[in-house]
């Protein structure tokens, strides 16, 4: 397994666990919920950077026949990105910890709260599809990670010098 794939796997796994924790604000409290969400958005930027080549490649040949299989995933990822932004934006608008920490105050509107919940539900559905699309990659990576490594066996012969 390449080092980049390993980095991707652990980053995605960490981001997934963080997403589950972030989705339970009543359990964690507002402060952890908000700061962890900020950290998660940073992890998503790194996730996009690690998959930058794929994004550029599919964007350049989106409507060609060769990208037929990737088209659904491409638009799904855009949807996921947009819903993630909606969560962050609505979350900042109703923030109790992060925004006041920077000495800012935003006009409070109840519609942001309902939008925050709606975009969270949409993101969870899109995340399920995103995981499903990459299911083979995820299972293959775990198989490689958990498979016992073949041991290197030392050669069973010795070299004798003629003049010895």
């Amino acid at each position: 397994m390449s080092k980049q794939n390993l980095t991707k796997l652990f980053l995605d796994l960490g981001a997934f666990i963080a997403l589950l924790i972030v989705s339970a604000p009543r359990f964690t409290g507002a402060a952890i919920h908000e700061w962890l969400a900020i950290a998660l958005s940073g992890a998503i930027v790194v996730h996009l950077l690690l998959n930058w080549n794929w994004i550029v490649e599919i964007s350049s040949r989106l409507f060609s026949k060769s990208a037929k299989n990737s088209r659904f995933g491409y638009f799904l990822n855009w949807g996921l990105f947009a819903s993630g932004i909606m969560i962050m934006l609505s979350g900042l608008m109703i923030s109790e910890t992060v925004v006041p920490f920077f000495g800012l105050s935003l006009p409070q509107d109840m519609s942001w709260k309902s939008l925050h919940e709606l975009s969270t539900n949409i993101t969870m559905i899109l995340m399920g599809l995103h995981v499903a699309l990459h299911w083979n990659w995820i299972t293959n990576m775990f198989k490689k990670l958990l498979a016992p490594r073949p041991q290197v066996v030392a050669p069973a012969f010795t070299i004798h010098r003629k003049d010895a």
Binding site: L20, L49, W52, M86, D109, L129
Partner: protein
């Protein structure tokens, strides 16, 4: 340098999408003229179900719910894809 420029592109796109959302929501809420939180009467309201008191450890039900949604959508998609996947014809060996 390449990574920084890519990060700037991601942040610019995010800002653009966020700006569009913000203007759409602002336009929508101003037309409906909802009552803001600051204008609402304050007082002792009962806490909604699920809120916990200080020091009490609650069950992360929302995380379980999110995990369930993701798992169900993932399982349904994988089964649908498996069902409708076109099987490639396999060549039989000539005996």
């Amino acid at each position: 340098m390449k990574t920084i420029s890519r990060m700037i592109i991601i942040l610019l796109v995010a800002t653009l999408i966020g700006g569009l959302f913000y203007s759409a929501v602002s336009a929508g809420s101003s037309s409906t003229s909802q009552t803001s939180i600051s204008e609402r009467p304050t007082g002792d309201f009962p806490q909604p179900d699920g809120d916990r008191d200080e020091g009490e450890i609650s069950f992360p039900a929302e995380s379980i719910k999110s995990l369930a949604i993701i798992s169900i959508v993932c399982a349904v998609y994988l089964n649908v894809v498996k069902k409708f996947a076109v099987k490639k014809p396999t060549l039989k060996p000539i005996l």
